[in-house]
Subunit: 364 residues, 2 copies
């Protein structure tokens, strides 16, 4: 019998006749080929004791019947579910919020190209985080994890390194043993931001750096400093402020910087939202962004493009990042060594309206 009567629903707009279109199993494959299911299985999994000829026949038939092994059926023997794990940490304030949709879309798209799926969980504190990871692992809900927002002192990395669980970071890590990652080179962006401003004649350039618990902050500070050095400028310590994450932080610190006797003519922000706070501080002081004060930031959030003036920034493609992270993690799960799984890309500079030549009166 088998699927003699099954109507092809492949290209209709419906989901199925009854609940789920009758799946084709490995036994169906075996029957159709006149082989046993063990042979079919080994053929598909690349065992060497299968002749090239039958391997080809099997693969063709799989194509034809659109056979796809049931991941949780294989999981019961292999332990792997073809599923990637992602745990959202709510303690992240609203930091990752705007990125999330794009990022998730990228991850799930990357996963699905290799027939993996994405399992999402959330945790609101560190204890809950550990428990969540453990449950997902124990129940085989994830073969490995994507760890967004690499931190300087990252509990997750410690755990997974010890437990030998596959993972990949969004961000980097100083102690890099066992770490695979994808990251955008924020340090290069900060460097280039300074060079851009210096090219416009700015000499008094300040940095408002991001959250110090995150690994990126150190990198971006170094990038800023190397840019200053490359431009032949000295950076006053009071012109470097750390640990700003929100628009309110930006407004507060921006005010502080702009009220200095010898205020900066340009401010580099490690985070777009902070730059929008600087906008507020500038507006409150009657300073025109783009002429009285130049601002360059980093992230490429939507609001930046609609600010007045539009924010000059280094944009990050979070969709792409998610996509790369997914494929890296899959390779990691399949056994590639972490050292081979490290990628970084440059951010894209978007020159918009918030930067301009240094104002006359501030010129030297």
């Amino acid at each position: 019998m088998g699927h003699g009567g099954t109507v092809l629903t492949t290209n209709t707009a419906t989901l199925s006749n009854d609940r789920v279109a009758m799946r084709v199993t490995i036994s169906d494959m075996a029957d159709a080929l006149g082989l046993t299911k063990s042979t079919v299985s080994r053929a598909l999994n690349g065992y060497p004791d299968i002749s090239a000829n039958t391997r080809l026949r099997v693969k063709r038939m799989a194509e034809k019947l659109n056979y796809q092994p049931l991941s949780h059926a294989q999981a019961i023997k292999t332990g792997r579910t073809r599923s990637l794990g992602l745990v959202l940490q709510l303690s992240d304030h609203d930091a990752q919020r705007p990125f999330l949709a794009e990022f998730l879309a990228g991850v799930s798209a990357g996963a699905s190209t290799q027939d993996y799926t994405l399992t999402v969980a959330s945790a609101d504190n560190d204890n809950h985080l550990i428990e969540t990871f453990r449950n997902l692992l124990r129940d085989g809900k994830a073969d490995g994890f994507i760890l967004p927002r690499a931190m300087v002192d990252d509990l997750r990395v410690k755990m997974f390194r010890d437990a030998n669980v596959p993972f990949v970071l969004y961000g980097r890590q100083d102690n890099d043993t066992g770490c695979a990652w994808f990251d955008v080179r924020g340090e290069d962006a900060m460097h280039d931001a300074v060079m851009h401003l210096a090219g416009l004649g700015h000499r008094r350039i300040a940095l408002i750096n991001g959250g110090l618990i995150y690994n990126y902050a150190g990198l971006r500070r170094r990038g800023f400093l190397s840019g200053m050095a490359a431009a032949g400028l000295t950076s006053a310590p009071e012109f470097i402020v750390e640990d700003a994450m929100t628009t309110d932080d930006g407004a507060r610190i921006g005010a502080q910087l702009l009220d200095m006797p010898n205020r900066p003519t340009a401010i580099v922000c490690a985070v777009d939202r902070v730059a929008l706070g600087v906008y507020r501080a500038a507006a409150a002081r009657g300073l025109l962004i783009g002429s009285d004060l130049s601002v360059v930031a980093y992230d490429g959030i939507h609001e930046g493009a609609h600010a007045q003036p539009p924010l000059t920034t280094f944009a990050v493609d979070n969709r792409e990042a998610g996509h790369r992270l997914a494929t890296l993690l899959i390779r990691r799960v399949r056994g590639e060594p972490p050292e081979a799984l490290r990628e970084t890309v440059a951010a894209t500079f978007l020159e918009r309206g918030s930067t301009g030549p240094v104002p006359r009166e501030a010129d030297q």
Copy 2:
């Protein structure tokens, strides 16, 4: 043998000794109890042919050993994975972005209380959407789906209703057969918004409604109209503008309304972001929000609280919504009829700075 040598890692901070802490299986349970695994299984699943006594023993032992059946092992027989599906539609512009983190946190939290997990996928167009749903179903990656953003003419509802796949809507549906849902009563919010404004003396009240493809738009319009009626006011047709979703839309339509010869003294926006656009239009015309022009909106986005003046709005708790949706879907998956699974809650009114008494000169 068994687990004699297993170290209890339960309350240490590590994940496990080697990869995954040795799971306790149903056979371990059977051995420990002197029963067969079939008995253990039936005891846990509430079969009537197990004595109350043994059922209790089994459950106690499960508690003691922290036994939790492997979901994908049961899935191979039962077809259910204890996993909820959520497909993000990217065509939704950036509409759902700010909500997403909170929403996901709620869903996954709700799911995990019942030992369910959340599988997230994404699709960028309708064809891809159908294919994504079908793959998830075919491979048993989800037992049912949460459908965010109910639309007036909702393809997903049609498909799942026909295919008899469990689903639950975030939002409602006119043709409600087979539909379970959770929703916030936006219509009541619009009604109350009008009443609030009318109480402040406003008579010329406009509505900028949201995206017409979504089901909520009709509801909110009706709520606005019923509020106007209840306040004894008549609503001029030119004071009702539909289909605004973005801040830019708000700025454009706001300008249009404010340039009318007999402009509205208050504007109700179905969406917070649109209200922020109205802020821009008002600022460009030198109108002070909260005195020259009152604005009430809906959603409770973060930016609204930080706008100048802070936006008066009806806040939606998306985390809670996600949580409720998850539990509703689980009940649906377990067989409860959809009609019994419908919940709505009220939005919370946040009176902030964007509303005030009608200005004198506009008074009648």
